[in-house]
């Protein structure tokens, strides 16, 4: 197999991985929000977020995997935005420590 094809496949897989890690984080986020489940991912959400963002950024480099990369990157950005907004609003709405 040619090096160019291998490179392209790696980028494509990174794009898909970025989307999948982003979606898995979202699934666990939904579970914890809806049912209050203390899911293991909850404590490591920043790690999952970093993985999603890293894979997303890398896969945007290649033209063929760019759309997948942007998709994964959007999921990561949304998760980050959610965490920041919820952290800030929680301080505003709940006066108790």
């Amino acid at each position: 197999m040619e090096l160019a094809t291998v490179k392209q496949r790696v980028f494509l897989w990174m794009g898909w991985l970025s989307i999948i890690t982003g979606l898995i984080s979202l699934v666990f986020l939904n579970l914890s929000l809806l049912w209050g489940l203390n899911v293991p991912i909850g404590s490591n959400i920043s790690l999952w977020l970093c993985i999603t963002l890293a894979f997303g950024i890398i896969s945007t480099i290649n033209k063929n995997s760019r759309s997948l990369g942007l998709w994964g990157l959007s999921l990561g950005i949304y998760l980050g935005f959610f965490l920041i907004v919820m952290f800030m609003l929680s301080w505003t709405i709940n006066p108790f420590p």
């Binding site: 939904n30 929000l33 999921l75 919820m86 709405i93 709940n94």
Partner: protein, 327 residues
């Protein structure tokens, strides 16, 4: 073979290779499109709940604030529930999709100590109270559905449904080593200071304020109203709206004014279904603060002595506890 023929031959070979690869590429493209469709649908579905959560938090931060709902709840209970306080550390606030849950404990002073009176569980969907559950720890429960005559604190011109003589007899039968909470209806309208000075060795915990409606317990519109008043004793708990208050009367009036824009919520929170704040604020501003009934607590013997007081008209016994009086 000249270069031209070589080129033609190569093009033919490439074309043949492409034709062989065609179905495989098409299959892969279809598979990829299928997964893209599934995952994009999943993405949209999974974004709904977190987005709604952010909207809920934003509503309680910038719309009807969660702290406003909490203040309205606590202030309403302070002015409508005689002799009760709320403990800050017992307040618990949780948020879920489009709703806010408040749970807290209400306490009552009996003798020298505070005892749990009720546990509250409130659920607001946005600013609409949809669940109001209370669990009472009390032996004597204040009338839940107020009528014109079932109040424990009555205006001098108002009738009562309980037998005051029977209450005095019950009081005299209690052991000396007990402390008692009692609802005293007065013979006339007095200032709170006058009442406090005439009752020594006991704590005057709450005073019902005359607001022009208590002779009949009906508002101008003909709705049944309930007593409103304020705690008389200094309250230094962080949570209390009467903390550091120079004049409890003025704080009470300020609280009524603050509650006025949220009267609908206050009415839902309170067991008393009509507050008629506008009418009552106007009356107090024009006529000042006079009380027609108070809640007192102290040793049984000291409460019993009130029978001889000229200002006492009726008594209704509240809670009774074993001796805890430390004065």
């Amino acid at each position: 073979m000249n270069p031209y023929e070589k080129l033609i031959q190569k093009a033919k070979e490439d074309g043949l290779e492409q034709t062989k690869k065609g179905p495989q590429t098409l299959k892969r493209a279809i598979k990829s499109s299928k997964w893209r469709l599934i995952l994009s649908t999943l993405t949209v579905l999974l974004l709904i709940v977190p987005t709604c959560y952010m909207m809920t938090y934003a509503y309680y931060a910038f719309g009807t604030k969660s702290t406003t709902l909490m203040d309205v709840t606590s202030k309403t209970l302070y002015i409508t529930e005689p002799n009760t306080t709320l403990e800050e550390m017992e307040f618990d606030m949780n948020f879920s999709l489009f709703s806010m849950n408040l749970t807290f404990e209400q306490h009552k002073q009996i003798g020298d100590e505070f005892y749990p009176a009720k546990d509250y569980e409130l659920q607001f969907i946005f600013n609409d109270l949809v669940k109001n559950r209370t669990y009472s720890h009390l032996d004597k429960i204040y009338p839940k559905y107020p009528t014109e005559t079932n109040q424990w604190l009555a205006h001098p011109k108002q009738l009562v449904e309980f037998n005051s003589e029977k209450e005095w007899r019950v009081l005299s039968g209690l052991p000396e080593e007990t402390v008692v909470e009692a609802y005293i209806s007065l013979t006339d309208l007095y200032s709170v200071d006058q009442v406090e000075n005439s009752m020594s060795n006991i704590d005057l915990t709450w005073a019902a304020i005359y607001t022009g409606t208590e002779e009949t317990m009906l508002s101008k519109d003909g709705d049944v109203v309930s007593p409103i008043g304020y705690p008389v004793q200094p309250d230094q708990t962080n949570w209390s709206p009467f903390r550091d208050s120079v004049s409890h009367e003025e704080t009470f009036l300020t609280m009524l004014k603050e509650l006025k824009p949220y009267e609908d919520i206050a009415v839902e929170v309170s067991p008393h279904k009509n507050l008629e704040l506008e009418e009552r604020i106007d009356y107090i501003e024009k006529n000042g603060f006079k009380t027609y009934g108070v809640v007192v607590t102290g040793p049984k013997s000291e409460i019993e002595e009130l029978k001889n007081s000229e200002i006492v008209r009726h008594i209704k016994l509240g809670e009774v506890k074993l001796w805890n009086w430390q004065r």
